[in-house]
Symmetry: C2
Subunit: 288 residues, 2 copies
Amino acid sequence: MTIAAMHEGPLGIICGSGSIPLAVAAAVQRRGRRVMLFALRGFVDARAVAAYPHCWIAIGQFGRFRRLARAEGCRDIVLVGGLVRPAIRQVRLDWATLVEMPRIVRAFRGGDDHLLTGIGRILEGDGFRLLGAHEVAPDITAPSGALGHHQPDAEAAADIARGFEMLAAMSPFDVGQALVIGRGHVLAVEAAEGTDAMLQRVAALREAGRITLPRGVGVLVKAPKQPQDRRFDLPSIGPDTVRHAAQAGLAGIAVVAAGTIVAEPQRLVEAADANGLFVLGRAECEAG
Amino acid sequence: MTIAAMHEGPLGIICGSGSIPLAVAAAVQRRGRRVMLFALRGFVDARAVAAYPHCWIAIGQFGRFRRLARAEGCRDIVLVGGLVRPAIRQVRLDWATLVEMPRIVRAFRGGDDHLLTGIGRILEGDGFRLLGAHEVAPDITAPSGALGHHQPDAEAAADIARGFEMLAAMSPFDVGQALVIGRGHVLAVEAAEGTDAMLQRVAALREAGRITLPRGVGVLVKAPKQPQDRRFDLPSIGPDTVRHAAQAGLAGIAVVAAGTIVAEPQRLVEAADANGLFVLGRAECEAG
């Protein structure tokens, strides 16, 4: 560990659901920085965070988080993992949160972008520095080019280009940024259901004969929202994404290089190679 | 029947699935014109067409259709009803279709728009005149304003405006033109699954706590694709749409007046009133 790294204190990682917070924690430790995980109760598996210094907080316990983070010397904070908007009954409010309530209510209006941006502003107003997962652990984002052995053919390349175009067109509406496209035909668009549920829908529609494209045609295209503050909620893929894409009969997956987190890259590449799928990171300079 | 109507021969209605072809047939008869239904085998219920002069054709039997239509004196043709892209094994090809094959294959590429536009061009090249359901039966399209007793409140009105904006942005990509939006947040976007399946998804996400907006918030917004040739595939709503929207906990439904077919309007209004939903036809001149 460098002296600078010691001085900057541990990186605070507010952990939502899924394996990505742990991948970020591991990558940050590999770079020689200490971490302190703030595991969101109800979102995080206790066994998964056991390997790291951690404490538990609930959504709405802003005061508790602030106290713990200061006690641990965490100034830099990352917010990472699934954070499906909680039902009100799951929220535990503390005094600091109640004081912030007008700002938080404003943040809850509109889409997830506004919610997260609002939380970010509150943290920053309180002297924390909010960083993006891609900043603290750049090696967990998708590289440019193909991951694994397979490459898109010309048909898939045309679908990828059109898919990214459509995501860009939808982007101002703050909607889940993924879709499935095959031979120029948009088969599914993601919103509140999430990427895996969308891929399962494509598999079911294919099964029912409602999608008649042959297997091995179609691409999952996934992108950050254009105006999105990338410190929140970068899109992510992992081995499960590959597995669901294979079950949906797709040719592959295209994401934005450096703008997408790849969870468990080794297992993801193995799954892609085993299923004959390509996984492509498109450099942003390639975008139209 | 007027002499002019007798001279123009019966209107040929190529019937896909659902109740809308029959609503069109009834409306055309009310206006004093004879009809001849060409029921697509596998898409149409035999009992439903029994009340009208009809004959059966299969997808791919272009030669048979042409022969029958000429024998019946049908020059004007309407294509109406669900026409989910058929699996190749369901297609029965005849000679005339094989001769047209290169043009038909070209028509099958890309989205439904291209498919239907391609079929339309083939019919027109053969001397038929292709009309839109809204032209032959204008009284079955949504009027401007509220159908039934309920009206959108200010929150729903804002969702409707934003929903139509997003559909316009997606429109160049030839994708199913409906979505569900609540408090500015896009909850679901329709593609290959169709409107009813999308509404069922919203109901399931609400049930699972993945959508936490209160019941009675959210609007189904549905529009024709902007560059769409309205002689094909006008969007439609019916009592089932209202029932699914109610199960999804929505406040109401907004469609484009004169650009949307309303199947069984009486039952639709009864269902909307009974469930407390609004059904709004927005005049196109109101669009931004």
